[in-house]
């Protein structure tokens, strides 16, 4: 085998890691989207599909871990490639967690739909999910385009998600205090909201990894927060009933 062939095969192996990340990303986005849709529409069949799909992400992560380790051991990659490979391991782990969180939302669908919830609650949850999904989409888009300039927006979104989560939390508490019969379904919704918020955290982790992979540097520390204000950054149709 000529050295050109070796290089070529190595590139293919590297590329296949990236392709698998993209495909895991697509599945993770789909799972989050569908788990929230199942919750809002009380769709038990869709929830079951999401729960089953989680296996795809588990398998994806295992595959990436195995390949990445083999690649490192056999090829002893240099700095840039090594960063890329370690990056895929980290991103795969975050995406696998996103899948788990989607699955956990899907598992609550039946419990929540036992009693019809106030429509406003679902609006809030949907808006929160839209924020998290947008964040996930944007960071995976940056992974695709490698244009890390766009990444600084992630932090604003993070703040937005936190603010939205806090507000939702209070609202759910109010419903629980109003009527003890709301306690059980609202507790489930509270966990769902928490899960969505954590999906946003994983998106942020991925953003940091992508930044590191592309630039070789850590994402600069957070800039000082704008006083005590919240941004309502408009991004989506999350307010749809």
């Amino acid at each position: 085998m000529t050295s050109k062939h070796i290089v070529r095969a190595y590139d293919e192996e590297l590329a296949s890691l990236g392709n698998r990340i993209a495909s895991m990303g697509g599945h993770a986005e789909r799972m989050v989207e569908q788990s929230v849709a199942a919750l809002i529409n009380a769709d038990a069949a869709l929830a079951r599909k999401v729960i089953a799909d989680d296996a795809i992400l588990d398998e994806g992560q295992r595959w990436i871990d195995d390949r990445a380790i083999l690649l490192i051991a056999r090829r002893q990659p240099m700095a840039d490639d090594l960063r890329e490979i370690i990056g895929t391991i980290r991103i795969a782990a975050d995406l696998e967690r996103v899948g788990d969180l989607g699955k956990s939302i899907a598992k609550r669908v039946v419990a929540v739909s036992d009693a019809r919830q106030p429509i406003q609650l679902f609006r809030g949850l949907e808006a929160l999910a839209t924020l998290a999904l947008t964040q996930l989409k944007q960071v995976l888009d940056v992974y695709a385009s490698r244009s890390v300039e766009a990444i600084s927006f992630m932090r604003d979104r993070d703040e937005e998600i936190d603010a939205m989560y806090t507000s939702l939390f209070r609202e759910l508490l109010t419903y629980m205090m109003e009527d003890p019969r709301n306690i059980s379904p609202c507790t489930h919704l509270l966990f769902c909201a928490k899960n969505i918020e954590r999906i946003g955290d994983h998106a942020t982790n991925i953003a940091e990894t992508v930044y590191y992979v592309v630039t070789g540097e850590q994402l600069p520390p957070e800039r000082p927060k704008e006083d005590k204000s919240h941004r309502v950054v408009l991004s989506a149709d999350g307010d749809k009933a």
Binding site: T134, S145, R146, S167, H230, V232, A236, A241
Partner: protein, 351 residues
């Protein structure tokens, strides 16, 4: 063959695929057999954002179905088609075709925007759901009053007057609700298109301030607006931007009435990655508690249902604002502290 035809024939022969793709109004991306983007036309960039040459197509379009169809096309150099939906940040649906370009080692992917048809269906369903939900309460109250008027209060002159008064308020609220819902649906139904035509933002703000001067006077609010020294231009749709400003200024006058003053300012900012035009509407009323700020742009979200009803609110104003700004690639930021008024800022990309 005339000389013109001869020249044309020559131009046709040298016309590049890229020139052709650049002229097509639908998103088109040309990629090689490794799935690497070679060229994305302007329509593709406007629809999907930055897609530099070298981007792996399956990294950018990640849905499982899209992955499969691109992989199949690459492996077998055969055409394929599917429906592709993006849910965030705006819901959009496309009819997608993947086509090998004969005689080359290249393929192209073509997107036909189907959002409008889908959106119309969806809006229709949403509209009915929202309208029935929101109209049920005032309707129930009206029918309750009618019952009382026909029964226990049949001969009670005073009760009749006050009941009729309430019923009138309720019916006009229902009428407003329908207006707002219709206007939201209309905006959502229109296709997602940026014309890029720049308009004079200062002029629009001035005309909105003028058109609400009656309302402001009635409420005892002074609106301070100093038009900017030089023209501030940004690409925007005149009617839609007017609607945004009317909603925000109306809110500032209504909910910030106790502050007796509203300041409107226009500025330009280049803090972010791209230059922006910003319009801020600041009131000195009761302000908004922190926990409500992230939520006020949701449909029908009212902080205090009672106050909003008294102020003729439907809870749709800011939902409309949000939708319009999203279409413009812009955003709204809200700053407020309880007791210190509120400031709503519109950010529009200047380019």
């Amino acid at each position: 063959m005339t000389r013109d035809q001869g020249a044309n024939a020559q131009q046709i022969e040298t016309l590049s695929a890229q020139q052709l793709a650049a002229a097509v109004p639908d998103p088109i991306i040309i990629f090689d057999r490794r799935g690497t983007t070679r060229y994305a036309n302007p329509a593709a960039i406007s629809a999907f954002g930055h897609i530099p040459a070298g981007t792996m197509l399956t990294h950018k379009f990640r849905t499982p179905e899209m992955q499969k169809i691109i992989e199949t096309a690459l492996r077998e150099m055969r055409p394929g088609a599917l429906e592709y939906v993006e849910r965030v940040p705006l819901e959009r649906a496309f009819r997608v075709a993947v086509l090998p370009l004969e005689g080359t080692n290249l393929l192209m992917i073509h997107f036909k925007d189907q959002s409008e048809t889908r959106r119309i269906d969806r809006m229709r369903a949403d509209f009915i759901a929202n309208a029935s939900h929101e109209l049920r309460t005032p309707l129930a109250s009206i029918s309750g009053f009618i019952e009382t008027l026909r029964g226990p209060a049949r001969n009670d002159e005073k009760a009749r007057d006050s009941f009729l008064q309430i019923m009138q308020t309720q019916t006009s609220r229902m009428a407003r609700l329908i207006d707002d819902l219709l206007s939201l649906s209309r905006i959502e139904m229109k296709p997602f298109a940026r014309t890029g035509e720049k308009i004079d933002i200062g002029e629009i703000v001035a005309s909105v301030v003028e058109s609400l001067s009656h309302l402001a006077r009635d409420l005892g609010v002074t609106v301070n607006f100093v038009p900017p020294q030089e023209k501030v231009l940004a690409p925007a749709n005149r009617d839609e931007l007017t609607q945004v400003l009317v909603n925000l200024l109306e809110n500032a006058c209504k909910y910030g009435q106790s502050g007796e003053r509203v300041d409107v300012t226009i500025g330009q900012s280049s803090d972010g990655p791209a230059p922006e035009v910003v319009v801020t509407i600041r009131d000195y009323g009761p302000g908004i508690a922190e926990e409500h700020i992230p939520r006020i742009t949701e449909r029908f979200y009212r902080i205090d249902g009672e106050t909003s009803r008294v102020k003729n609110g439907t809870g749709l104003g800011l939902a409309i604002v949000k939708h319009i700004l999203t279409r413009h690639d812009g955003r709204l930021s809200v700053k407020s502290k309880l007791g210190e008024g509120a400031s709503f800022t519109i950010h529009l990309p200047a380019q």
